[in-house]
């Protein structure tokens, strides 16, 4: 109670003004546990997965491995699908960011594979200020699910966020660590 750890995001425009902040998941292993706990997770891909390079791979390659490890359904927003297909993967949904978040608010919704509501939603590659707004929506209006922002800029409005990871190699380490943990667990 004395004082609490509150994540300060990379981008100042994303500073939290409030009382409910993300738990910082500094260890990939913790992240894997969070994913394992979920009954019906969903992974939302934003356009940066196809624009940003992580070492010699594209971010989407890591994101796809994470999804594959637990057969997590993928929602490919914006125009991500096009690039995704080049990697031979078809998205389960192509709702755009706001649309998928709108459906996720509804506990009665069938989910992208008709298995009922998603209890964990992973996000990667959504523009940071935009993702923060959507995470706020879910934080306030979707008490039935948790969000995990797999983004090196950190997201206070998520339930689980990464610490800020300024260096790309450390970012790659985190992603590889998470994949490793998922594949060994």
């Amino acid at each position: 109670m004395a004082s609490e750890v509150m994540t300060t995001p990379y981008y100042k425009v994303n500073i939290l003004t409030g009382t409910k902040a993300a738990k910082v998941v500094a260890e990939p292993a913790e992240g894997a546990k969070i994913i394992d706990k979920a009954n019906n997770p969903l992974y939302v891909f934003g356009p940066e997965v196809i624009d940003s390079q992580v070492g010699d791979k594209l971010l989407i390659e890591y994101a796809l491995e994470i999804a594959k490890s637990r057969d997590i359904p993928i929602c490919a927003t914006t125009h991500v699908k096009k690039k995704m297909m080049e990697f031979g993967v078809m998205p389960d949904s192509t709702y755009d960011t706001i649309e998928i978040i709108h459906f996720l608010k509804n506990k009665e919704w069938s989910g992208v594979r008709g298995k009922g509501f998603h209890d964990l939603v992973l996000f990667t590659g959504v523009r940071c200020d935009y993702a923060e707004r959507g995470l706020s929506t879910l934080k306030h209006f979707a008490p039935h699910l948790k969000t995990y922002a797999i983004c090196r800029r950190s997201h206070p409005n998520a339930d689980y966020a990464l610490p800020v990871i300024p260096k790309v190699d450390k970012w790659r380490d985190y992603l590889e660590g998470l994949i490793a943990a998922l594949n060994t667990a």
Binding site: Y11, V13, Y95, E99, N106, Y130, R133, F141
Partner: protein
């Protein structure tokens, strides 16, 4: 409000009910709650989507109140209603900005021409004020009639502001209904303001090919004394033009504008220059090219007095909205003012436009020679030297950037004499200067950008004002049938997520596909900032008519009214439905039959929020760039999972159309690629005829394939009959539809939501 007999008589008097042009409809000058049922009907299909910007409320001294996890404030409000209250507060700021602007211009022109000054928009425009006619039931004939419109806005506004006080409205849906009201009032103010300045200043009207004007910071001739007008209200700027003309100084002095004043001053004089949109304001002012800076109102950076001092530019504030704590010299003698300005660099507030004009021009003439040395643009060597201090690693700049840009890399590279990244960055920069403020090495980043910013001069067609009645007659039928796939308005601000010229890309993609493309405000300026291989901008390449595959700049923010007005005219002139005091009938027609879509790709202002919220009440869907998510609220349907039952006006029966059109009423998208397909989709209407729908589907499929690579994943939602499948894609589409188990859907000849909710409008009224 009191809707008693007295008030009714008062209203009938204001709108001259006895005027013959049309019988008075059900809702003349509607008050707060009169269109509430319409609003609730919209909200049933298009649910408010809230993205709280803060967990708390701090609006009264019981707070701060924590609104997380279902907690209520001390006043009982919940997080949803609190977001909706914010939306209302911000919409009101926008409505007030336009309303006060309109009041100021109208009063000023009445002083000049008298209140009986006639409204004449030329031979091509007979339905002069579709919005005011529809909302108020008044056919404005004089400036005094336009004043009535503003008085109506003023009267309604106080109730809306009151509703934001603690312990007032408690329902998010009713806050949204009030925000819709604010938005509709905003449109009334827009229309009144633009009509007033068109007739009062003789801006071009009833002509389509308005002059092409120079745009860009390179367009300003540094050798001449340079006056830069900043803001939205051209009263002082136009007085400056008058003074220059009267004194034969016109070719000796440069007048350039930033933000909408630039639009309006170029409508008054095509010799004036457009420097750029809001996102270029700080960059340009810090470059110090302005000998005199003139501020009026709205979208004016609040630290201009400081920037003016830094660059030794003179500053005159000319609006009661923006006084900067300056001494009011409105009644001071001109020579005393000049003396203080030139000798003590004093900055003044001057509220008398004619006096201000004289002072401003004379100051520019006197100051320019002294400032020659200051008007040098940084060369690459100087810029490299300034940037050299950057190690490129601390990233304090990036973290502070309001557009999340990689400043560090660009400045670091510039420090090594390479401006490639900085030039690219400049295209995405919205000019907030937070990077510069944050820079641990105090690098004057915005000045360094001078060496990276293109000095290109672009051609923008100056704002043309209202769409012509003949144009409406020509396009009305194809639009309603769907054979013209849609009318697009690019409006609003320059808070773009990506390159400043993405608007040009979108406009061209749509014009190529035969959409009618219109633009206004900063978007209209930004769209000029891209040249093709032959060095042509879209304004030079496309015909400036309101017709398929053409591109029209309507003008400044207040000119947005004319595009909504065009939609109304389609119902009124083409379909000959009565619009007088008939808001629901017009909006229902637009929602169901006019494939129009508003796009605000770089939203920032509360005005843009008010305009967008008003558009939604009119039945026009809005697509916003990602920054729009920070407005806190969107209107989203449940797509194929919503109930899309409407009335068939002819059979008077409820029909489940099974098609989500228009799909959302206010939605943000993250990339220009997704924007393209979303805009196209928002133009689908229930009323589309099979051939019309086929044309729209053709655009949708081609664009979707282009940016996403496959047939649209929701194609089945929008194909109603096989006849609608575009021939080129026939086989592919049929196969797909089969695969997803598509079934034909009903095609209505007269879709309407009148009759699906409690309204005074009889269903018969929708049939003509």
């Amino acid at each position: 409000m009191s809707s008693g007999k007295m008030r009714q008589d008062e209203v009938r008097k204001i709108i001259r009910a006895e005027d013959e042009w049309e019988p008075v409809g059900p809702t003349p000058m509607p008050s707060l709650t009169e269109l509430r049922n319409w609003d609730m009907r919209l909200l049933d299909t298009y649910e408010p989507f809230y993205a709280p910007f803060c967990d708390l409320c701090c609006l009264c001294t019981f707070g701060k109140c924590d609104l997380t996890e279902g907690r209520k404030g001390a006043c009982g409000i919940d997080i949803a209603a609190q977001q909706a209250r914010w939306i209302l507060i911000c919409s009101l700021m926008g409505t007030a900005a336009h309303g006060a602007h309109g009041r100021h211009i109208i009063d000023h022109l009445i002083e000049k021409h008298g209140e009986d000054f006639k409204i004449d928009l030329g031979t091509q425009v007979n339905v002069e004020a579709p919005i005011i006619r529809t909302v108020m039931g008044l056919k404005p004939e004089t400036l005094a009639d336009l004043r009535k419109a503003i008085e109506y806005v003023e009267r309604e506004m106080i109730h809306l502001v009151a509703a934001t006080h603690m312990g007032q409205e408690g329902s998010s849906r009713d806050f949204e209904s009030k925000a819709f009201h604010a938005g509709m009032l905003d449109h009334v103010a827009l229309e009144a303001a633009d009509i007033a300045q068109i007739v009062g200043y003789g801006y071009p009207t009833s002509i389509a090919d308005t002059p092409l004007v120079d745009l860009g910071w390179g367009a300003m001739d540094q050798e001449k004394p340079c006056i830069v007008v900043v803001g939205h209200n051209a009263i002082t700027s136009n007085a400056i033009i008058d003074y220059l003309r009267k004194n034969d100084l016109y070719d000796k002095v440069e007048v350039g504008g930033l933000c909408c004043t630039a639009h309006d001053v170029t409508r008054y004089s095509s010799n004036a220059k457009v420097i750029g949109p809001l996102s270029r304001q700080r960059f340009f002012l810090k470059a110090g090219l302005a000998d005199v800076i003139v501020t009026d109102e709205q979208c004016v950076l609040t630290d201009i007095p400081i920037m003016a001092r830094e660059s030794n530019s003179a500053l005159f504030a000319c609006s009661d909205k923006i006084c900067y704590g300056l001494e009011n010299a409105s009644e001071k003698n001109v020579d005393d003012i000049l003396k203080a300005v030139l000798e003590e660099q004093k900055q003044y507030l001057i509220l008398n436009p004619e006096k201000a004009a004289e002072v401003i021009v004379r100051t520019a003439l006197a100051l320019a020679p002294q400032r020659k040395a200051l008007k040098k643009i940084l060369n690459t060597e100087e810029a490299t030297e300034l940037a050299a201090k950057c190690g490129g690693t601390c990233e304090a700049c990036n973290r502070a950037c309001s557009n999340l840009l990689p400043v560090n890399a660009a400045i670091h590279q510039a420090g090594q004499g390479d401006f490639t990244k900085l030039s690219a960055l400049f295209l995405r920069c919205i000019g907030c200067a937070k990077c510069e403020e944050a820079c641990v090495k105090n690098i004057p980043i915005l000045r360094v950008m001078q060496a990276a910013a293109s000095r290109e001069t672009y051609k923008m067609r100056s704002g043309r004002g209202p769409i012509h009645d003949v144009e409406i007659r020509k396009v009305g039928s194809p639009i309603v049938l769907g054979t013209i796939p849609g009318v697009i308005l690019f409006a609003g601000c320059s808070n773009f997520p990506g390159d400043i010229d993405d608007v040009a890309w979108l406009a061209e993609e749509l014009a190529r596909r035969k959409y009618i493309v219109t633009l206004s405000g900063c978007a209209a300026m930004a769209a000029a900032m891209k040249k093709d291989a032959e060095g042509k901008t879209i304004y030079e390449k496309f015909i400036p008519e309101f017709d398929a595959g053409c591109i029209v700049n309507v003008g400044s923010c207040v000119a947005n009214a004319h595009v909504v007005g065009a939609a109304i005219k389609i119902a009124n002139i083409f379909a000959t439905l009565p619009n007088r005091a008939n808001f629901e009938l017009m909006s229902d027609y637009i929602l169901n039959r006019v494939g129009a879509c508003g796009v605000v790709w770089g939203p920032y202002s509360q005005k843009a929020l008010a305009i967008g919220t008003g558009a939604v009440r009119w039945g026009v869907p809005i697509v916003l760039g990602p920054h729009g998510s920070k407005y806190r609220r969107l209107f989203i349907s449940n797509k194929e999972q919503s109930d899309w039952t409407v009335m068939d006006g002819r059979t008077k029966t409820l029909v489940n159309t099974e098609e989500p059109t228009p799909e959302h009423m206010m939605v943000t998208v993250e990339t220009k690629e997704r924007a393209l397909v979303t805009i196209i989709k928002q133009c689908f209407r229930r009323n589309d005829t099979p051939p019309g729908r086929a044309i729209k589907l053709n655009s949708y499929i081609s664009a979707y394939k282009q940016v996403i690579g496959t047939l649209p994943d929701d194609l089945q939602n929008f194909v109603r009959t096989e006849k609608e499948i575009p021939i080129v894609y026939k086989r592919e589409v049929l196969a797909y539809l089969k695969e997803v188990g598509w079934k034909p859907k009903p095609v209505l000849s007269l879709p309407t939501i009148i009759g699906t909710y409690d309204t005074k409008v009889p269903i018969e009224a929708t049939v003509k």
